[in-house]
Symmetry: C3
């Protein structure tokens, strides 16, 4: 049987998402039932760039299942990341561990690692590409907070252009279906066309807005993200527009009483601290859910309860055009391509469209 | 029920100190009885500045109780300490863990963290403010080495002005009562007036000495600390006086046969290495006791066996005058003040007297 | 009973090597039988220089025996390595742990640490001196791959002058006996005379070769190491000779069908990546065996099943002549000397011959 890696949330089916959410919810309510389920298993957390919270969330998840952890979090001081190929490191570490959780600054690195690993790999973020356990956490939180994953008007606010968590969440919610989207951003930071194509193809309604204030009253869910200062077109645009995308008490007064406010965290100042005690502020509960979502995923992979399949690949003549793709620094990688969601050829590592 | 944090050893009563010492002594003699007492619990060690020995001592303590550990020790490489408020980090990490051990370079940081934590917090050192588990370790060691915590003549030697472990130990021993103190230091590095006030108020006798040699013969306990070179008034004073505060074999010859020599460690050269094999040198046993003291504390907090109460606070009009106080960098903190030991208003975070 | 440290593989007998190999092989086949054997024990991994793979291998080993781990891997950020003597750190940490695994950039550091430790110490590499668990891993791998440790023609290729793993392996295989060696290197990088003396004394045949190609067909085992560019006599020599010591498919075609290719890893380019899928390439299996070898060693030390004895020492008048020896920076160390394998006086820390 092929190894079961989770590189992209689409490596499993919507039915398996349901199973993961059901299991995570049960673990959350009955944690002591799961205390020994991964006893005797070791998880390696290979963090080629620091992401302390994500790493602690995965570590706490494994420990609460009775498993153990090894790993590194410190690429500069680690001998692993110096002068050794990703292939060799993964081949060796996968001989010590039963599951690998990996974060890497380059796009497609986790997929590349999965080609050589002797144990399953979970993608904990590969550059700007994918961060599937964040999306699983978002789905779990919506399920707990709203009781279902359909029938909602979902506002997405902030940097919709570069925010990978937003793209993944929209893609997932379109696959589930039955939701409407409100895209709240500056003209420069709107959602990429390919995500809009997915919404259109799935039949999910969406519309755009220039201010949070004008549409907050319609929303069932508000997913906040940060807009970095340098992403505004000019310093003047920043000064004049930034407040428009900050959630504060005044705006919350216009919101529904059962609005759910999410944020992948860390936040800077896009949510005023005064909102934290509002019962509609769900972002800290969302962070806590991250541990349960990861527990469900680790358990299902170790116990082999869900189907995880990787797309079929073909070998291309030339390399991926994306300079941030792992294939540009690990030269032994075959030039693998796959068919993407709409049937076009895309890099099997980083999903960049082939030229 | 309110959460039970240990920020200051005075958060619990002398009776609870006795209970902690009794439990630590029992764990030391019968460690296997405690192997599973914290099974299923996770401790996060959040070290915003490195303190490898303290962190290893806490980690070993939790592991020997059957618990597990996550955390960080490396503020520079940690994403947690960059651009995220202390509040947000604590809210998130306390969702993953059952107890947090925290060290921070700013005074009052642990108290600040306790306002937002979902689980108990233990102060493992907050700047020059408090390090209560060191003091608990000192008390445990005195109890083991001398059989009681009263009736001793205790010499305190070295930098008595800036050494927080000395201030805490004197304060604790005065609360217990029945001891005499000998303060051995340079004129520039004498004990602060507020600590002398505590001694006076508690009725504990004390006197000062300029050399270790002149009084070592009277002592039952000698608590050594280092004087940093730059703390002497002039380089000449350093060269001429330093030997006066160094413990060596010659001085030990004049000491009682049952003297107990303590040091919070690390030492530099204030105790000659030739003393290490003297049975009166208790500082390595003291370090080992640190693990048992921490086991007793963690166990009592997790099992909720001791009362831990925080002082009542009021909101002040202006902020704390201490520039090293956490309230100056985490701006969302309320300006909390409390009544200090002698009834005056003091910052609830760092204990600085209000203006 | 004296404490049982493993500083040098020669601290135990060939009969104990057999026992370690037998046990490691059994653990490899029946890992679940050993899941709780070190329950309640803590291993400290003190890595004064980073070696992520070695550290992870030791950590996974202890965790798979049911033990727990503390430690550091980051000398720059660690308060332990600043301003505290090796003696004090070891005295303190050995009070928290049941076994210490230590790596240090200075030669002889582990032996020095063993003088002060309250628990057994395993040498995980002390500068260019010893790395006994690598050699134990090599022996285990030969035993598994070839079925025995005698009767083989063993090629050693690359930097034979500075490669400590090669020296240790040759020394061990000579002690076991019944093998022939082929030394494949440049004239500048041949095996040191003292290792040749050991081969001669033990009656093991050896001969030298200038190219891998000329002798690969005779070999049962090929132990590859890297030659660093700066070790060639001139840049021209590097350009012209380097390919001669690189293992590729063309050379493998001339090799026996049951050749076993080993490498201590990490590799750079001395083994072409195309060899990885050749069943004769045993280096990744060798890395995986490292964990089992370490499990066997830890278990035997904790359960006190093997004899580990340190050589007798005498105090010399002057210090060791080797400037990289730990005795030059930790000044309190006694000037210990011992008799080496051929009866001459050598530094008890770093094995340098006395003047």
């Amino acid at each position: 049987m092929a190894l079961r890696h989770l590189i992209d949330l689409n490596d499993c089916t919507v039915r398996d998402w349901d199973e993961l959410i059901r299991l995570a919810s049960d673990i959350r309510l009955n944690p002591t039932d799961y205390l020994s389920r991964c006893r005797g298993h070791i998880m390696a957390t290979l963090f080629y760039e620091p992401s302390t919270r994500t790493q602690m969330s995965f570590q706490a998840a494994m420990l609460r299942l009775g498993g153990q952890i090894i790993g590194f979090d410190n690429p500069v001081n680690s001998s692993v990341s110096k002068g050794e190929s990703l292939k060799d490191t993964i081949r060796i570490v996968s001989g010590y561990s039963d599951i690998i959780v990996m974060r890497h600054p380059q796009e497609g690195a986790t997929k590349a690692a999965s080609l050589f690993s002797l144990c399953p790999i979970i993608n904990a973020g590969d550059g700007g590409h994918m961060h599937p356990t964040q999306t699983l956490t978002d789905l779990l939180t919506l399920s707990i907070e709203k009781g279902s994953l359909s029938g909602h008007t979902i506002g997405l606010c902030g940097d919709l252009r570069y925010g990978r968590t937003v793209h993944s969440l929209v893609t997932a919610m379109c696959k589930i279906g039955g939701n409407k989207f409100k895209l709240i951003s500056t003209p420069e930071l709107t959602l990429p066309q390919y995500v809009k194509d997915i919404m259109q193809k799935s039949g999910c309604e969406f519309s755009e807005a220039n201010t949070l204030e004008e549409c907050i009253g319609e929303l069932d869910v508000l997913y906040m993200t940060r807009i970095q200062r340098e992403r505004f077109s000019t310093p003047e645009a920043y000064e004049c527009q930034r407040g428009v995308f900050v959630l504060d008490s005044a705006k919350m007064k216009k919101a529904k009483s059962d609005l759910v406010v999410l944020h992948p965290l860390p936040r800077v100042d896009e949510i005023a601290i005064e909102i934290d005690d509002d019962p509609r502020a769900a972002y800290f509960r969302q962070a806590a859910n991250g541990m349960y979502a990861r527990m469900a995923l680790i358990l299902n992979i170790i116990e082999e309860n869900i189907e995880l399949t990787q797309p079929e690949v073909t070998v291309g003549a030339s390399n991926c055009p994306n300079p941030r793709c792992i294939s540009h620094s690990e030269h032994y990688l075959p030039h693998y391509f796959k068919a993407d969601a709409i049937g076009k050829s895309a890099c099997a590592y980083c999903d960049e469209k082939a030229l």
